[in-house]
């Protein structure tokens, strides 16, 4: 009952003044968020829809604009080998990046969730790369990866391994991109950490009483409890993987031999190197469709594997009882 009141505080009390409120009070909230609404309409939604429009045009920056219907989309699929190539590279990158990103972020969050001295320091340290701008990160990584003078190859040489020339070797360039991309997982780690902190301790206590070891506890308590967080992070990772551009642009320029020529970069080059705005907009909308489809599929599948505590409401009394039992045990 309390919940209803929270959601609709004015339901009962505001009824007599309804007319006046509707005229002015109803608009007030919108006035307060107007700056945001304005920004959203003019700088986000407007350009978004505009890009859909120009995707049906041959739209050079300098020269004649002509309507071409679906030609841009047709050309993309039937006539442009670079389109397929860059798409494959992005898929490959996503296949490597998404699982690794989740494993690393979750791993770090688990480490930070330990009650050890200095965990606040490590939390800051692990998050720090997310605060640094992507451009600065790319510069740092270009030094790290340098074949002759890079610290990474120096580190490997200590162990007697001769490292490759990361950014100039087609076999390693994509791996190098994945590693560098993983550096930016700080915010994901924090979200996982929040998820982990939200798991009631008594679940672990009862699990250990039932004789479950650490690994069992992880798979049977931790993982199910953080599946909503996992879902969120999975979707944002997929989107991030498809949008990866900064690193490719600055670290490898898409090379060597187009081995890191991501779809986003293909799009970027079409727009800002070859000035084919319409074609590039068509590229962008196709990417939107891919990401939309993938997100939809993940959401669909989530019904099977995501566990919301709210769904357990019916079992709540039992839960409370168990908690009481636990207290008695102490």
């Amino acid at each position: 009952m309390a919940r209803i009141n929270v959601l609709n505080p004015q339901r009962q009390t505001a009824a007599p003044k309804r007319l006046g409120r509707k005229r002015w009070g109803g608009a007030a909230p919108y006035l307060f968020i107007f700056p945001w609404i304005f920004g959203f309409l003019v700088f986000t939604l407007g350009p978004l829809l505009f890009s859909l429009v120009i995707s049906f045009f041959d739209w050079p920056i300098v020269g004649q604009v002509t309507f071409v219907g679906f030609d841009n989309y047709v050309e993309m699929f039937s006539d442009d080998p670079l389109f397929w190539k860059s798409l494959m590279i992005t898929l490959k990158f996503a296949a490597l990046f998404v699982p690794l990103n989740i494993i690393v972020a979750l791993g770090l969050a688990m480490l930070l969730n330990q009650k050890v001295k200095g965990s606040a320091f490590f939390r800051t340290a692990f998050y720090l790369p997310s605060v640094i701008s992507g451009v600065a990160l790319a510069m740092i990584w270009s030094w790290v990866y340098s074949g002759d003078y890079g610290i990474l190859n120096y580190f490997l040489s200590v162990f007697g391994i001769e490292g490759p020339d990361w950014l100039n070797d087609t076999k390693w360039s994509l791996v190098a991109m994945v590693i560098a991309s993983l550096w930016g997982q700080g915010s994901m780690m924090l979200i996982f950490l929040a998820g982990l902190k939200g798991i009631p301790k008594d679940l672990y206590e009862s699990a250990s009483i039932d004789g479950a070891g650490k690994i069992r506890q992880f798979f049977n308590v931790t993982v199910p409890m953080i599946t909503p967080t996992l879902l969120f992070n999975l979707i944002t990772s997929i989107i991030a993987a498809f949008q990866q551009l900064t690193l490719a642009l600055l670290l490898t320029g898409g090379g060597p031999l187009k081995s890191t020529f991501f779809y986003a970069m293909y799009m970027y080059e079409n727009a800002f190197k070859y000035f084919k705005m319409g074609y590039s907009a068509a590229n962008a909308w196709f990417m939107f469709l891919i990401v939309l489809t993938l997100t939809f599929l993940v959401f669909k599948s989530s019904e099977a594997w995501v566990f919301y505590e709210g769904e357990m409401k019916k079992a709540k009394p039992k839960h409370v009882k168990r908690r009481a039992a636990g207290r008695e045990g102490h």
Partner: protein
């Protein structure tokens, strides 16, 4: 002369405005606040070259009171910023320009200015330079600077190995032989450096020298040109030198540039335009220059890299812009720009540049640069070049040139339909 006197009049009016501060009646039509006209000048240069250009702009301001030249250094983002400027109908008034096929629609034709204004002394220019700024019959750019490409060599390394300095008329066979003798893997020293990412424009001299080309002379066909035996051979030669270890790959991501390796004395020979000459001397390298080698039995051909100045069609200060261009290519300004070769024969003669053994090869190469580069022959060249660049890069990474070029031709055909 008419223009000049009008300019002088405007200038004095502006000066009057600035001094009195009350000149409401004589407000010039194009003037902004305080009667100062701002002329926007866009350049792609950075560093020392930019500094020189700013000095030239200051000199121009001194002789044209009431004028402010705003030097806009677009650097690597030159094309993006310029295109955005044109797209928004707010371009710089004067700009550096080389890609006339792409931009000519947005540029002011300069034939009238050039033919009417005797002060320009157009006959003093190297005439071949005007070909690069023409589309159809119209002239869109006044040559401001140019360079041809030569081979730089490190005299000290040659002396140590007891090898005679190369001379004009040498061949690629000589070149490869010397490169081999000057390679010493134990010292990480190589005979030659090859760029990881070549500008295909620069490779045209090499390709033409072997009797090949990227595109037919009428600009319609690449099949049998871009992938001809001669073209492939020329590109393959660079790939082979990398493979047999007499050349080192330079300027890849996270790698040192060829210029830096040359300055460090780790490559004996380097091929480039005039740009790095000054920095080689500053680095204390005893550097020599020689014309490009020939393929045995074939004439050496060179490629010209030219920068010109253009006026935007949308500019509101075209006359002032023209004055600026004229000043920019005057003897005085040309002498200030040491990173370019002078475009005026009179300046060359005065400075005796063509007598200087270090500069002579550039002028020898100029005489050999009479082929038309591919980008002037086909308006879709930028698209084709995307495929060609990928092919050339793959050769540097070990692919077979003939196969790579065949593929590039196949992938490019759709642009030439």
């Amino acid at each position: 002369m008419v223009i000049v006197s009008v300019m002088a009049l405007t200038a004095s009016m502006l000066a009057g405005c600035g001094g009195g501060g009350t000149g409401t009646a004589q407000e010039p039509d194009n003037g902004s606040q305080a009667g100062v006209t701002t002329l926007r000048f866009a350049t792609w240069d950075t560093g020392d070259a930019l500094k020189i250009e700013q000095d030239i702009a200051k000199k121009f301001e001194e002789s044209h009171p009431g004028t402010k030249v705003q030097v806009e250094a677009y650097a690597d983002g030159f094309d993006q910023k310029l295109a955005a400027g044109f797209g928004a109908a707010n371009p710089p008034d004067v700009m550096y320009m080389w890609d006339f096929p792409t931009y000519h629609q947005s540029l002011e034709p300069l034939d009238d200015y050039a033919s009417k204004d005797k002060d320009l002394n157009i006959d003093d220019f190297y005439q071949g330079l005007f070909n690069y700024g023409k589309i159809g019959d119209k002239l869109y750019g006044i040559p401001a600077g140019f360079t041809t490409r030569v081979v730089y060599y490190n005299k000290k390394l040659f002396d140590e190995a007891g090898i005679a300095y190369p001379n004009d008329g040498w061949t690629w066979t000589d070149f490869q032989d010397i490169a081999k003798r000057l390679t010493d893997p134990s010292k990480k020293q190589y005979g030659f450096g090859v760029r990881a990412e070549n500008d295909t424009y620069d490779l045209q001299g090499l390709v033409w020298s072997n009797g090949g080309s990227f595109i037919s002379e009428d600009g319609t066909t690449i099949e049998g040109y871009m992938n001809s035996k001669e073209t492939a051979e020329a590109i393959q030669m660079l790939g082979d030198m990398l493979k047999n270890g007499t050349a080192v790959l330079a300027g890849g991501k996270g790698q040192q540039s060829g210029e830096d390796i040359f300055k460090a004395g780790k490559i004996a020979m380097w091929e480039s335009g005039i740009w790095p000459l000054e920095s080689f001397r500053e680095a204390g390298i005893d550097v020599g220059t020689v014309e490009m080698p020939a393929f045995p039995g074939k004439p050496v051909k060179g490629v010209l890299a030219e920068s010109a100045l253009s006026i935007a069609k949308d500019s509101k200060h075209k006359d002032l812009a023209w004055e600026f261009i004229k000043f920019y290519v005057s003897d005085e300004a040309i002498k200030m720009r040491v990173a370019d070769l002078p475009v005026r024969a009179s300046v060359v003669n005065e400075l005796k540049k063509d007598q200087d053994p270090l500069y002579k090869p550039y002028y020898t190469m100029l005489e050999r640069s009479d082929n038309t580069p591919a980008f002037l022959l086909n308006p879709k060249w930028n698209e084709v070049n995307r495929q060609l660049s990928a092919a050339v890069e793959s050769v540097m990474f070990g692919s077979d040139a003939q196969e790579a070029l065949n593929q590039a031709v196949k992938d490019s055909e759709r642009y030439l339909k």
